[in-house]
C-alpha cells in the first residue's frame, strides 16, 4: 500500500546572497527540515526585487512568495528595510487588483544566522497557505 502524497504549498523564496541565503544554507547544514516545495532564488538585495517577478510567480502556479529580507543587516544601506517594505506594499496593491490574496506574500528579515527563524517562518507560511487554499477550493 502506498502512502498518500504529502501535501505542501509551493513557495518561492527570494533570498539575498550575502545575508539570508547563508541562513537558508545553514538550515540545511543543521538538518532543519522544511517542505521540499520551497524554492529559492538569490538576489543581491531584497530592496531590488521587482513586483512583476512576484506576480509572475503567482501566475505560473506558486501558492506563496516569501521575501527573506536583509533587514538592518543589509550591506548596501540602512534604507533596505524601508524600501523592501515599500515593494511589498506596492505588490500587495497589485495583488488586490488581480484578486490575489495579499497574505500570499510574506516578508521577514532573515539574518545570516537566522536559520531557525527562517524554517519557523516557512512552516508557518506553509500552514497558512494550505489552510487558505483548502478554504478557497
Amino acid at each position: 500500500m502506498s502512502l498518500p502524497e504529502k501535501r505542501n504549498a509551493r513557495i518561492l523564496v527570494f533570498s539575498t546572497e550575502k545575508i539570508s541565503d547563508p541562513a537558508i544554507d545553514m538550515a540545511g547544514l543543521l538538518k532543519l527540515h522544511y517542505p521540499p516545495t520551497v524554492y529559492t532564488i538569490a538576489v543581491p538585495c531584497s530592496s531590488g526585487i521587482k513586483p512583476r517577478w512576484i506576480i509572475r510567480a503567482y501566475e505560473k502556479g506558486f501558492d506563496g512568495v516569501f521575501i527573506a529580507a536583509d533587514g538592518s543587516d543589509c550591506t548596501y544601506g540602512e534604507t533596505c528595510t524601508e524600501k523592501t517594505g515599500q515593494i511589498v506594499s506596492r505588490t500587495h496593491q497589485i495583488m488586490k487588483e488581480k484578486k490575489i490574496d495579499p497574505a500570499r506574500l510574506r516578508m521577514a528579515a532573515i539574518c545570516s544566522v537566522c536559520s531557525e527563524a527562517f524554517v519557523k517562518q516557512i512552516k508557518s507560511f506553509n500552514q497558512y497557505l494550505l489552510q487558505s487554499l483548502s478554504t478557497s477550493s
Binding site: 509551493r10 521540499p36 543581491p44 506558486f62
Partner: protein, 667 residues
C-alpha cells in the same frame, strides 16, 4: 543565447546522492533546450572532474556551464576558475545548490528532494541560456587587517601578517595579552611555560612597527564590507600611567583593601582591585578594576602613577579584512554536576592546573593536603540527549549523592582535555611526591604524539578506569570522605570505589559566554555554537561574511599547535584580500534602457551610493549609471515607473525564465 550547455550533477560522495536520485535528475534535464551534455560525478570539485569539465568545454566548444552541487558559497569560485581555464567567460557558468538547500534540508523526503533538485537544475539551465560574458569590477582594498583577540592564535596571526608587510591592529578586550595560554604552566611538547610562550610572542609584536596593539579595547560597531571595513573600538583605561615605579606599585597593590575572586586563577584565590595577574605579564602595567574599586585613595597615597582622570576613548579603524581569534571559555559545571559546588573538594581541570602552579612544596586545597586525586573525564563534552539511564541522582541513605547527569547540548569532543589532564597529572606527580592519580575515563583520546604522555602516565602507575556514557561515575560522601565509584568496563563492569582528597572534573571548551563581537559581524555559528567556517576542509578559515576569517579556538576546540596552524592559515587568507590593494568584484551593475527611460529622478533618489545622475542622450534626458560607483544592489530597479532598469545577470528575462522553470510542473 547560449545553446551548447554542459551540466554536471554531483553526488558529493553521498551527501547529495543519499537523498537525491542524481541519475533521475540527469535524465530529467538532459533534453532541456540548450543542454549539449549532462553528466553525474562523484565529486564535481575533484581535480579529475575539473579537468574533465575543461576538456568537455574545449572539445565541444560549450558556451554555458551548470554545476549542481553544494552551496555556491563553497564552490562558485572553483567552477568559475574551471570555466576560465577552459577559456569560457566565468559569467557563463551558473551554480545550482542541491546540497544545503535540497539533500540536507530534505533528507526526510527523498522523492521531494529529487523533484526539487530537478527544478533547481532546470532553473539554472534557464538562466545560463541567457547569460553573457562580463568583465569584473575592480575596487580599492585597504591594505590593513584587524586581528580581534590577542591570545596565542591572534598574536601569531598578527606577527605573520606584519611579516608580510601588512599593517595590523591587534585588539584585545582584556588589559593583558596571552589569553588562556598565559594561565597555563609547563606545556607539552616543548616544556616551556605558557607565560614564556606569551612573552616570546609579545616581544615579537612590540618589535614590529606595523603592529598596533590595543588592550582593554572592544569593537563596539562595524560598518562597510570587504576591502573597506570601519571598526569603532572602545578602549577602557588602566588608570595607571605608563611611567611608573615597580616598587611603589607593588606597595599600592598591597595597600588596596578590596579583595575579589581572581578570575585568572578561576576563583580559587583572591586578588586586589589594583592588580596584575603575574609579575612578568604583558603589558607590564597593572590595572585598576574600576568596577570593584571603592576609590578609597590608599593606592594614590603610595603611587603617583595611579591616575583616575583617565577616560575611555572611541577610535575608528579602517581595514580591508578582519581576523577573529576570540578564543574559548572552559566549561563550567552546573551546581551538583559530579559534586561541583556541592562538595568542597570538587574542582575543574583549569582550577587544578592553577592549583598545581601556585602551590610550592605540598599540594594543598583549602588547607587540606592532597594525595588521592580522582579525575572525571568528558565533563561538559560528549554530552548526550537526556535519558533516564544517563541522568538523575541515585538514592542513598545519607542523601549525599552528586548528580551524574551527562545530558546536554555539547555533543562534541573537546579534543584537548584528555591530553591536558594526563599532562597535568604527570606534572603534579613530578612536582609533589606521593600523589595517587585515578582517571575515570570514557576512553582516552591522546591522538598523535600526545600518546607518549599516556604511555608515561601508565608507567608512573596512574590508574585508568572506564565507563560508557550510559553509566557515568558517581561522586558521593561516605563517613565524611568523598568517594568516586565506577562500574569499570575494563574489568567486566566491576564496581570500583576510590576515596578522593580532590575530585578534578575534566572540563572541555565551550564558546565564549560573551561573544557579542561575533554577533556584531553576524558570523554564523555551527551546531556546537562555535564560529562556523565555510567548509571544514576546503575553506577552513573563511566565513560567509566576505573578508572575515576565523582562527584558533573560537572556531572549535583546538590545542596550541592546531590554533597556531589555523592562525597562520587565516592570516594568509586575510592577507590575500588586501595584498594587492584592490579587489575584483562582481560586474553586477544597473543598466538603463535608454529607449524606455525619460528622466524622472526616482532611481537617483533610491540609489544609496549616488551612482545615478541625469545624462543627455541625443535630445532626450535619461538616467545614467556611474559604473565605478554602482554596487549592484538593485534598489533602483523596483522604483522605475516604466521598468527601464535591469541588473546585469538579474534581468527580467533571466529572473522570469528561472521562475518559469521552477514552476514548470505546477500548473
Amino acid at each position: 543565447m547560449n545553446s551548447k550547455i554542459g551540466v554536471y550533477i554531483c553526488h558529493c560522495g553521498g551527501n547529495i546522492s543519499d537523498y537525491v536520485n542524481v541519475e533521475e535528475v540527469k535524465s530529467a534535464i538532459a533534453d532541456e533546450e540548450g543542454v549539449f551534455l549532462a553528466k553525474t560525478t562523484m565529486f564535481a570539485c575533484s581535480d579529475a572532474t575539473q579537468k574533465e569539465m575543461v576538456e568537455d568545454i574545449k572539445t565541444n566548444e560549450l558556451d554555458g556551464l551548470v554545476v549542481a552541487s553544494c552551496s555556491p558559497k563553497l564552490h562558485l569560485v572553483t567552477f568559475r576558475a574551471v570555466a576560465e581555464r577552459a577559456e569560457l567567460n566565468k559569467y557563463n557558468y551558473v551554480h545550482a545548490n542541491i546540497r544545503e538547500q535540497v539533500s540536507w534540508a530534505h533528507s526526510d523526503d527523498k522523492a521531494g528532494a529529487t523533484a526539487k533538485a530537478i527544478q533547481l537544475v532546470k532553473s539554472a539551465i534557464a538562466k545560463v541560456r541567457l547569460a553573457h560574458s562580463l568583465d569584473p569590477i575592480v575596487i580599492p582594498s585597504k591594505k590593513a587587517v584587524a586581528v580581534i583577540g590577542a591570545g596565542v592564535a591572534g598574536m601569531r596571526a598578527a606577527i605573520e601578517l606584519a611579516d608580510m608587510d601588512c599593517p595590523v591592529t591587534l585588539i584585545e578586550r582584556e588589559h593583558f595579552v596571552g589569553g588562556r595560554v598565559s594561565q597555563w604552566d609547563i606545556l607539552f611538547t616543548t616544556n616551556q611555560t605558557g607565560k614564556e610562550l606569551v612573552t616570546r610572542l609579545y616581544d615579537a609584536i612590540i618589535s614590529r612597527e606595523n603592529i598596533t596593539l590595543l588592550t582593554g579595547a572592544e569593537v563596539v560597531a562595524s560598518s562597510g564590507s570587504i576591502g573597506d571595513y570601519t571598526l569603532r573600538v572602545k578602549t577602557t583605561p588602566r588608570y595607571i600611567n605608563e611611567m611608573c615605579d615597580p616598587g611603589n606599585l607593588q606597595k599600592a597593590i598591597d595597600a588596596c583593601p578590596v579583595e575579589v575572586p581572581d578570575e585568572f586563577n578561576f576563583n580559587i584565590t583572591a586578588r586586589k582591585a589594583i592588580y596584575h595577574n603575574f609579575p612578568s605579564e604583558y603589558p607590564q602595567y597593572p590595572v585598576i578594576d574600576i568596577k570593584n574599586c571603592t576609590r578609597c585613595g590608599e593606592c594614590e597615597k603610595i603611587c603617583k602613577s595611579v591616575d583616575f582622570s583617565q577616560e575611555g576613548k572611541l577610535v575608528d579603524i579602517k581595514v580591508g579584512s578582519i581576523l577573529m581569534a576570540t578564543g574559548f571559555d572552559p566549561y563550567t559545571p552546573s551546581d551538583g554536576e559530579f559534586g561541583y559546588g556541592q562538595f568542597g573538594n570538587v574542582i575543574t581541570l583549569p582550577q587544578f592546573k592553577r592549583l598545581v602552579d601556585i602551590n610550592d612544596a605540598t599540594l594543598k586545597y583549602r588547607g587540606q593536603v592532597i594525595k588521592n586525586i580522582a579525575y572525571i573525564y568528558c565533563v561538559g563534552s560528549r554530552q548526550i540527549e537526556g535519558s533516564e539511564s544517563s541522568t538523575g541522582e541515585e538514592t542513598r541513605g545519607d542523601g549525599n549523592i552528586a548528580s551524574h547527569d551527562i545530558s546536554g547540548d555539547n555533543r562534541y569532543c573537546s579534543r584537548y582535555c584528555c591530553t591536558s589532564v594526563i599532562h597535568a597529572a604527570i606534572e603534579a606527580s613530578r612536582k609533589f611526591h606521593g600523589l595517587n592519580n585515578y582517571h575515570f575515563t570514557r576512553g582516552i583520546r591522546t591522538y598523535g604524539k600526545q600518546e607518549l604522555l599516556y604511555s608515561e602516565s601508565l608507567k608512573n602507575g596512574d590508574i585508568y578506569l572506564q565507563s560508557y556514557e550510559d553509566d557515568p561515575p558517581v561522586v558521593y560522601l561516605e563517613n565524611g570522605d568523598t568517594m568516586v565509584k565506577i562500574n569499570d568496563i575494563m574489568t567486566g563492569r566491576q564496581e570500583v570505589s576510590v576515596k578522593a582528597d580532590l575530585v578534578v572534573l575534566v572540563t572541555g571548551m565551550v564558546p565564549r559566554a560573551d561573544n557579542s563581537v561575533g554577533s556584531l559581524f553576524k558570523i554564523p555559528k555551527g551546531r556546537d555554537n562555535f564560529f562556523n567556517e565555510i567548509h571544514m576542509k576546503l575553506r577552513p578559515v573563511e566565513t560567509v561574511i566576505d573578508g572575515i576569517t576565523i582562527a584558533g579556538a573560537c572556531q572549535g576546540p583546538k590545542n596550541i599547535t592546531e590554533s597556531v596552524s589555523s592562525a597562520l592559515s587565516a592570516a594568509t587568507k586575510s592577507f590575500s584580500y588586501v595584498s594587492k590593494g584592490e579587489l575584483e568584484l562582481e560586474p553586477i551593475i544597473a543598466v538603463i534602457d535608454g529607449d524606455l527611460c525619460s528622466w524622472c529622478g526616482l532611481c537617483a533618489e533610491a540609489c544609496p551610493f549616488d551612482a545615478i545622475s541625469m545624462v543627455t542622450k541625443g535630445t532626450k534626458e535619461i538616467a545614467g549609471i556611474n559604473n565605478s560607483i554602482c554596487k549592484g544592489c538593485g534598489m533602483c530597479l523596483p522604483v522605475c515607473p516604466v521598468n527601464a532598469i535591469n541588473l546585469t545577470a538579474y534581468s527580467d528575462r533571466e529572473l522570469e525564465s528561472m521562475i518559469d522553470a521552477l514552476a514548470e510542473q505546477m500548473k
